[in-house]
Symmetry: C2
Subunit: 432 residues, 2 copies
């Protein structure tokens, strides 16, 4: 526990310090080599990589459409319903974000428009690892579907003789995704960035992954003109602000649901009640023991911070300074404080709004800025699947009026031809 | 001239090939060293760099507020009016882009919100070079002002014993910018990224620049957690689509106003009329000779392409393939074709809408994706100065309903604690 008002600047900094992310030169070198292989050899390289890293025994890269269509029949009714509910809520919230084109006349005869174009081809990476992640498919796939991307490629690794989990295939089917690539890691990112015989080239790549995936995304964004990536990915994190009336068991459950994500996850509790800190810590120890991932969660708790502040207002200052991916407000009435929220990815208000609601099903997106990026990066939203462009249409009289701005500015900037493009037109108007 | 329908795939590719951008290792090494110096030594390093690269004779870094306030009195009435008109039009068009918060109930008792937060501190880089660029200040500063950034830092280089041009200072003043740094190049980017004694640290850096500035932006975005940059910058470019009734003099003037930007600028004319190509080339030679920057424009014209297509529809296909920063439509009636516009940064419709109108004063932004990035990146817009985040507020009954999605998904993903954070709350509801 740290008493915020008695802590030195260095102690405060330490309490909010994130575990360092390793960006080793060896990861960069290995990733660059994989990118080169896939760029040069396409499918052949992808298959070699799958054999090498995932011990794949079969030689296919794309999931047959029939297998996608059959996936739902392999799910329990409960899981299918769960995916359906999540899909519908995520769809509702993101459909409400559909952008509207804008058209205004800034000067009589000068009409300016802002328009939206769906990014035509997008790639979605879904990590493999210890469990299938259908939620990760939905949180990206629904948006691509709503924006109307013409090409959506989903890539996810498959180990040994396994096939892709039907929950992932069903989630993809709901999102209208028909191109599903059984490949993971840097190779999958390279395939989507450069294109191969089987994998269409995309213009923007979304999705989290391990350090090789993250490095691959960074490298292809630099190497391939016209390619974008979503946002920098870091370890997951939560900050809970609780008042003295909060339920310590709920607090502990929320901290643990963050901690179980990975050993580098970070959890922070900020409260104006020493009792709450004490009770939450007791509840944590108790609940931890019942978790299947208790080793991971236990390791993550070693990066945890318990901060005692003087007031709830001060708790929001600490939160703004940290910039949490997830901010949970276990407050009797959070309403008066919502204007104090700064630099948070997603906010969970009230005792009955656990982080896992947003992770899966409330409708908000679970792809959020981490690692302090929440001061500048957005939560994933529908506009990430669009680009904007502008149109202007100017009449003769409009141009005559605008010339009063264009000609002196072009002259001041020493750009003759810019002025000439206007004056040559003005002359033609006079000669009409 | 290239006949599109008779060209081979390689000839087509060559006609739309952009001049290569050099990304030399030596630029990276030199830039990294400058970043390190500024990070370590702050103001002292900035002053040393100004002496070394800009032959600065005075030792100040910030423009005194009185100097900013006096700038307008040093301008001609014409230039002051020009800046005022441009400011007002840009402000109108971007003010209309103010985002609205969103709030919907995805499930009874589950309220989801999307909110906007201005990026608190932004940096704007304005290149120096052969002329002052007040338009570059407006195209970025107006947006920062409208979003309500608390801190706006403007950096621009100053040579020898000069001071910053009053047109730049006046444009900055209109945008409410009070922190103006007399420093350029990679050093200025580093100062805004890391902060120095005089220069506030910012969270997002905007603005074009030479290869050192571009490299510095890329490097600080990688090095500094929580820092973002606007978009990759490449050489400027225009593609004109013209029909047989277009005015060849107007076409030539538009091509030249692009070509005079720099030797690596690129201009492309696509038309269904061989006569138009011939007449535009004659007009080009004639107009070129009267330009003060004719050497630059002449060199840029060596990268130009003149493409003859069968139909205007096909011209739009060529344009979509190229993805031009600026797309000019000199067509009798462009309306039926506007749905064919793809991968363009900004579109100029009709004979009396020259590119220079958008460069300065129509109201649209002149910071646009180049170099093929227009298939995925947006024209600079007000949302680039905001970030979005989400809020969810869930009632007891809302959580009970959502549990049908959360519990099976958490189980499928092997995340016990995610489920537990819900079930522990459901138990307390039952026990109410």
């Amino acid at each position: 526990m740290i008493l915020w008002n008695e802590a030195t600047a260095i102690e405060k900094q330490k309490a909010l310090l994130r575990p360092a992310v390793k960006q080793s030169q060896s990861v960069q070198t290995a990733t660059a080599a994989i990118l080169e292989q896939v760029k040069e050899q396409g499918d052949k390289a992808l298959l070699n990589l799958a054999q090498q890293f995932d011990k794949r025994s079969n030689a296919r890269l794309l999931v047959p459409h029939a297998e996608i269509a059959q996936a739902s029949s392999l799910l329990t009714t409960e899981l299918k319903t769960a995916i359906d509910i999540a899909y519908n809520n995520i769809k509702q919230f993101h459909q409400a974000q559909q952008p509207k084109a804008l058209k205004i006349e800034t000067t009589p005869g000068v009409v300016c428009e802002l328009k939206y174009q769906a990014i035509a081809a997008v790639g979605i990476y879904v990590p493999g690892g210890s469990a299938p992640l259908p939620s990760s498919v939905l949180m990206q796939g629904v948006l691509a579907q709503l924006a109307g991307a013409q090409t959506i490629v989903l890539a996810t690794p498959v180990k040994g003789s396994e096939t892709i989990n039907p929950a992932i295939l069903y989630a993809a089917q709901l999102c209208g995704i028909t191109t599903i690539v059984e490949a993971g890691g840097a190779g999958a990112i390279a395939a989507m960035a450069f294109g191969t015989e089987s994998v269409p080239k995309v213009f923007k790549i979304f999705g989290p992954g391990n350090s090789f995936v993250t490095m691959a995304k960074q490298l292809v964004a630099q190497q391939v003109p016209g390619l974008a990536i979503d946002m920098p990915a870091g370890p997951s994190e939560v900050l809970v602000i609780a008042d003295e009336r909060a339920n310590p068991e709920f607090i502990a459950a929320d901290l643990l649901s963050q901690a179980e994500h990975g050993e580098d996850s970070q959890v922070v509790l900020v409260t104006n009640s020493a009792n709450i800190i004490e009770a939450a810590q007791v509840a944590l120890s108790k609940q931890l023991n019942n978790l299947s991932r208790k080793d991971i969660a236990g390791a993550a708790l070693e990066n945890s911070s318990f901060i005692l502040v003087d007031s709830i207002e001060q708790a929001f200052e600490v939160s703004a300074q940290y910039g949490p991916e997830h901010l949970i407000l276990q407050l009797g009435d959070a309403t008066p404080y919502l204007d104090l929220v700064k630099n948070a990815g997603s906010v969970f208000v009230g005792d009955f709004t656990p982080e896992s609601a947003g992770d899966y099903a409330s409708g908000t997106n679970h792809v959020l800025p981490t690692y302090g990026y929440s001061q500048v990066y957005s939560s994933l939203n529908l506009l990430d699947f669009y680009r904007t462009y502008t149109i202007q249409t100017i009449s003769k009289s409009g141009l005559t009026e605008l010339a009063k701005a264009i000609l002196p500015l072009a002259a001041a900037e020493g750009l003759d031809a810019h002025g000439k493009a206007v004056s040559i037109r003005l002359e033609s108007i006079v000669n009409d």
